[in-house]
């Protein structure tokens, strides 16, 4: 062999290095792709990228294998005439035929009843374009996967602090001293969090993880606090209880920056009970979301004053009577009264965490926040023109994810967490929670969904945004009888604040024709016939179910995907998408950018390889389709298409003519001299390419903190089109928005009221203060039978269903086990490795048991989406993924047990419609037949599709860039 010391890679073939952005998961790191003779040689993290600083994860490093995956779709396909849906019998067609077919069908729908077309996408980082297409088409039936991902996290926090975790904000671990992570396994913000966690630990920070399961990040926590799933709300309430009781809250922060001291009417007999008392004479900015006309009770004068009056010092506690006799209380007093019964002892019984531990956690948080303050010498001016010489930080940081979100009580739990973070005074301060542009946004943000069925008209764009942030019942998208207008019933009285839609109910609702039948369901990158659906078996049945005339109940199903997922088998029309290395993409400020704490960042993907076979980027398909359908925003006055393709669209599109706001924020203006706002720049792509594929605007230091109330920042943000208002974004300890819905349910409010059968539901859950309730499924099933909670965790080396086709990653997780605490297993005679049944109210699955000491004994869990349907994803029919792997989704209802009292209520949070995956109650027992070593249920193997690569079945794969498959 050649001496390796003289070996150099540069001389082995023709070498090129191209920069782009990873998409092996939603984290979106900058990457450098090394090519050798046109094949991917090596993918490394881009050291200049603000997100990953050169590191790369297991998935990112395995991107090479996506390019050689046997699951690649390379031809447009049509279901064979006469073949049954789901049998994966397809024939190749040309793109022209495919587009003709789609354009003709959609054209007819648009001309008659646009809502019969539903577009749902698994990918939420492209919503700016897909949402725009839906709006221009005129259908309200559009959403991405947020409804079953973590809309509770987004809404719970955005309705409280004007920002949330992940793209919207996060823990400032660079300066934090105590970090509390709750309900987080692998995270969206994967590499940045890993980078920060290790630095944090090396600096001697204290890391506490609250989680029923100790995996991943929790493994390196200084303390693991196991908690029963779905009870986090109770923990937060008890922590707030203890913090208020001991006076460990940040009073100055609460009074000035939150609505804690603002007076709420406290007279249940009055219609305005629970609403803020407002001074009608105060000067306010018309139209803004949260006008500054509320009142304080001044402690020295012992009288009401306009909130934040110069020199005023308000009461946070007590009850008072206004001169006109109106009884009022500061909202903090209401919070105090609310958490009074929520003692650590009370929480111990619910969460399983000893009361002593809860107290200690509260003390650690409170004392760290109060006694380890950070003062940064940064001058800034607040919205009330007060100059500050320093920025103060209370260095307690939190992070939470789906462990909180995916419960039917998640919204209120997350409100509880946000309020805990607020009473500790940690919002947008060093060492606490920090926003990421375009956040903070008003509470709630300005876009609203349409509010009446009239918003949907033939051949007309939708009047309103398909998704938005309701703040009163008048923003709900319901008809005059209070019935939903959207197929998924989002923004209806059933789930009023469903800001991300309810994709998880689309198939069931369309199948049932409730609220109405549709014609065409277009799914992009969403595996709704497998791991993205709850109640997967029924979802598969519904997709193939026919009416009495022998027609499919969902008449036409178009699927765009890069790979032969389980869902592709059910399509009538299959459109092959490209991989992330073969296309242009934007990670846009209009969407989910990759901003840093210090300022806005957006990024692009650039193709480093040509599309494989006849695959085409979905964006190009959508833009061509929009042109063919003559959707106004995509069509010139002469009726011809406005944009050649997606890159052309990205450069030239403006949100409205002359707005200067487009998909990319960097290098705007004719010569690339402007940013955020500016006329289109024809060389914008080139300038991104020349700058590591991202644009980063670092804010002046004085704009980097306290942005909810930072006058300079808010005006800058207003000026650059990031926010609608420059008004302060006061934190909502007390949510008047929720109270409005409650008052409507109580009949105390003019205007829209919920239908009678939902009044009690709205009144109960729309509590303006956080409260704890048992998850809905637990309330409805027999808890003594289904005595366990079953969860999934996302493994760090797998992204949902995407990676089983990846020859390297699947060797790490080719099948999965149910992890069970040995105490529990032994009591049931189950041995490590035994075959067991896991049963919920919906059905049962068979799988293998693995003992684990790092799971709370009332919880069982498995890795998410490892199990596959036989033959899907280009794998052999007998692959371990289908024979030994299993999917927990079969057990999770998309609707509440017993049909949700006959109302077909979604198994979701009653406020936001967040799918309650983690509410799942199960029992386990040993399988009778231990020798039949195959998981159940099993499905008929999916056939290989025309155009899928045939090399899949060869025994050896020896990948060497430059020669692979060419010798």
């Amino acid at each position: 062999m050649q001496d390796p010391a003289v070996h150099t890679d540069q001389t082995a073939g023709h070498t090129e290095v191209k920069e782009t952005t990873c998409y092996m998961c939603a984290c979106r790191c900058g990457i450098r792709v090394h090519l050798r003779d046109g094949q991917v040689r090596y993918i490394e993290g881009n050291p200049n990228h603000p997100l990953n600083h050169g590191v790369i994860c297991a998935k990112g490093s395995s991107g090479i294998m996506k390019q050689v995956s046997p699951a690649r779709l390379t031809k447009p396909l049509r279901r064979k005439p006469g073949a049954h849906r789901g049998d994966s019998e397809f024939e190749e067609i040309s793109w022209k035929e495919a587009m003709d077919m789609l354009a003709e069908r959609l054209g007819k729908l648009r001309g008659t009843d646009p809502k019969k077309f539903a577009l749902f996408t698994g990918r939420d980082q492209m919503q700016a374009l897909t949402g725009m297409f839906a709006k221009q088409f005129g259908t309200p039936n559009y959403a991405a996967h947020g409804g079953f991902c973590s809309v509770n996290m987004a809404t719970g926090m955005i309705y409280t602090i004007g920002g949330s975790f992940w793209e919207f904000g996060g823990p400032d671990l660079e300066r934090a001293k105590l970090f509390v992570m709750i309900g987080t396994a692998e995270d969206h913000h994967s590499n940045p969090l890993k980078i920060q966690l290790s630095k944090f630990k090396r600096r001697g920070g204290r890391f506490i993880s609250v989680n029923p399961i100790r995996t991943g990040y929790s493994a390196i926590a200084d303390e693991w606090v196991p908690i029963k799933p779905g009870t986090d709300g109770a923990l937060f309430l008890a922590l707030i209880h203890e913090i208020i009781k001991l006076g460990l809250f940040d009073r100055d922060f609460l009074t000035q920056y939150t609505n804690a001291a603002e007076l709420v009417v406290d007279d249940p007999s009055r219609d305005d009970h629970g609403m803020f008392l407002r001074d009608p004479d105060a000067e306010i900015v018309e139209g803004c979301t949260d006008p500054q006309n509320k009142l304080w009770w001044e402690r020295n004068k012992n009288a009401p004053v306009l909130a934040r009056s110069e020199g005023a010092d308000p009461r946070l506690m007590g009850g008072y009577t206004m001169p006109d006799g109106t009884p009022v209380k500061p909202s903090f007093q209401l919070l105090k009264e609310r958490v009074e019964p929520y003692t650590p002892e009370w929480a111990e019984g619910i969460t399983g965490i000893p009361a002593e531990t809860i107290r200690r956690l509260a003390h650690e948080m409170g004392v760290t926040a109060r006694d380890h303050k950070i003062e940064l010498p940064i001058r800034w001016t607040d919205c009330w023109d007060k100059e500050h010489d320093t920025v103060t930080g209370n260095p307690v940081a939190f992070h939470a994810m789906r462990g909180l979100a995916a419960h039917s009580n998640g919204f209120q739990s997350i409100r509880g967490l946000s309020i805990l973070m607020t009473v500790l005074g940690t919002i947008d301060r060093p060492g606490g929670f920090r926003h990421r542009a375009p956040f903070p946004r008003p509470i709630p943000p300005c876009p609203k969904p349409p509010h009446h069925p009239d918003a949907v008209q033939p051949d007309t764009p939708l009047d309103g945004m398909p998704l938005g942030w309701p703040s009163t019942p008048e923003h709900l998208f319901v008809d005059d009888d209070g019935k939903p207008v959207r197929l998924d019933k989002a923004f209806s009285w059933e789930y009023p604040l469903s800001a991300h839609g309810l994709m998880h109910n689309v198939i069931t609702n369309a199948w049932r024709g409730d609220p109405y039948p549709i014609d065409t369901l277009f799914l992009f990158m969403a595996n709704m016939a497998w791991n993205s659906s709850m109640n997967t078996q029924d979802a598969r049945r519904m997709l193939t179910d026919k009416d009495e005339n022998g027609e499919y109940k969902i008449p036409f199903l178009a699927v765009c995907d890069t790979y032969s997922s389980e869902t592709v088998a059910f399509a009538d029309l299959v459109l092959p998408d490209t991989t992330y290395l073969e296309r242009h993409d934007v990670l846009s400020m209009l969407d989910r950018p990759i901003s840093e704490f210090d300022g806005p960042v957006d990024a692009v993907r650039l193709p480093v390889l040509p599309p494989k076979g006849e695959s085409r980027p979905f964006q190009d398909v959508l833009i061509e389709l929009a042109g063919r359908l003559k959707l106004p925003a995509f069509t010139k006055e002469d009726g011809t298409p406005k944009y050649r393709n997606y890159p052309d669209f990205v450069v030239n599109y403006e949100t409205s003519p002359g707005s200067g706001i487009g998909f990319l924020a960097g290098w705007r203006g004719k010569f690339g001299e402007k940013y955020l706002k500016g006329e289109p720049n024809p060389r914008q792509w080139e300038q991104y390419a020349a700058n590591n594929c991202f644009f980063h605007h670092e804010l002046p230091r004085s704009y980097q903190y306290m942005r909810n109330w930072n006058k300079g920042y808010l005006h800058w943000a207003r000026g650059h089109g990031l926010t609608r208002w420059a008004e302060p974004i006061t934190l909502h300890i007390y949510s008047e928005v929720l109270q409005r819905f409650r008052a409507a349910a109580q009949g105390k409010r003019p205007g829209r009221q919920p239908p009678d059968h939902l009044r009690e539901r709205i009144e109960t859950y729309f509590d303006p203060l956080p409260f704890y309730y048992e998850p809905l499924e637990s309330q409805l099933v027999d808890r003594s039978t289904y005595n366990l909670t079953a969860l999934t965790q996302r493994p760090m080396a797998m992204y949902h269903s995407w990676d089983s086709q990846n020859a390297w990653l699947r060797q790490i997780h080719s099948h999965n086990y149910l992890f069970v605490n040995p105490k529990l297993a032994i009591a049931q005679g189950i041995e490590d490795g035994d075959w067991i049944w896991v049963e919920s109210h919906l059905g049962r699955v068979k799988c293998m048991c693995r003992y684990s000491e790092s799971v709370e004994p009332g919880t069982v869990w498995t890795w998410n989406a490892i199990g596959k349907a036989s033959g899907a994803w280009g794998l052999a029919a007998n692959a371990a993924e289908s024979r030994k792997g299993f999917l927990l989704n079969h057990l999770i209802g998309e609707e509440l047990p017993q049909g949700g009292a006959g109302q077909h209520l979604s198994n979701s949070d009653p406020i936001t419609g967040q799918a309650a995956w983690f509410d799942l109650r199960v029992r386990i027992y040993k399988a009778e037949d231990q020798d039949k070593s195959v998981t159940e249920p099993q499905f008929k193997p999916m056939k290989t599709l025309p155009g899928q690569t045939a090399r899949a079945r060869s025994r050896w794969q020896a990948y060497v860039a430059g020669v692979f498959g060419r010798r």
Partner: protein, 326 residues
Amino acid sequence: MHPAFSVILLTTLIGAGQGLFLALFTGQLYSSIKLIEAQGADFYAGGSTISLLLLIAGLGASFFHLGRPERAWRAASKWRTSWLSREVIVLPLMMAVVFFYGLFHYIGWTEPFYVAGGGILPIDVTLVLGFLGVVIALALFVCTAMIYASVKFLEEWHSPYTVGNFTFLGMASGFMLAAAFSAYLGNHLVGFYGTWAVIFTLLALGTRTASLLRNATLKHKSTLQTAIGVRHRQIVQKSQGFTGGSFNTREFFHHQSPEFLKLVRLAFLVLVFPLPLFLILISYVLQSPTLPIAAFLVQYLGLLAERWYFFAEARHPQNLYYQSIA
């Protein structure tokens, strides 16, 4: 360890081959000082042929153990450090000696050129070659055994017993084969070789039993605590890091149940020791020409089991790292 049949065959076949050669030469030595009846050239040439065939078959089997047998010649280069390399050198020497030993007998180069010991021991070329062969055969036993005994990580093997076992078991089977060969030819050496076979079998029984007893109470040096450097009494592997198996889960595990192992141990303890002894002793009584052959075959079968167990019994410390899939 995974018992590879190539290695099981290699060690048992060449062991019998070496043993047979030693038996032939012992016979020659005894007969040259007139202690036993002399045999003709056919006996030595035939016996040498069998011995050589066994050695060749063993060598052939060893090639199946190699990933790249075409490069096997390279294996001779590191004789200073590697017992495997030494074996690779000594085995061909052994084969050469056996070949020429048989050849010289066959072509009758048996005229003494010197008589030693005051006229008692006539020395011819074959005798010189034979002495050389004895040294080489013993060296080969040591080389083969040391391949295993020198690996300190395999503590079941890392003991002088391994050398004893390989040597005595090889000699037992070789002498047993000589007895069988004699019985087949119908000469009078069945008792001579049979008795030596019994002696070597008993010696082997001693060392093998000792090694079994030693291994039964062996306390392995490495533990999960030293493997990952965490000091806690309760450590359990949850995941070896991959689900589909690897070289490390194939090469170092026998993938059989403990019950099966016990069965194999019982089998070899019966087949190698009491049964052949019983058969060979009976054969003296019955003057049976077939029972010695049966005794050899039974013992060889037992040796296959013994060698299988030898591998399966050894627990490699690397296995601490490969215990669980999750």
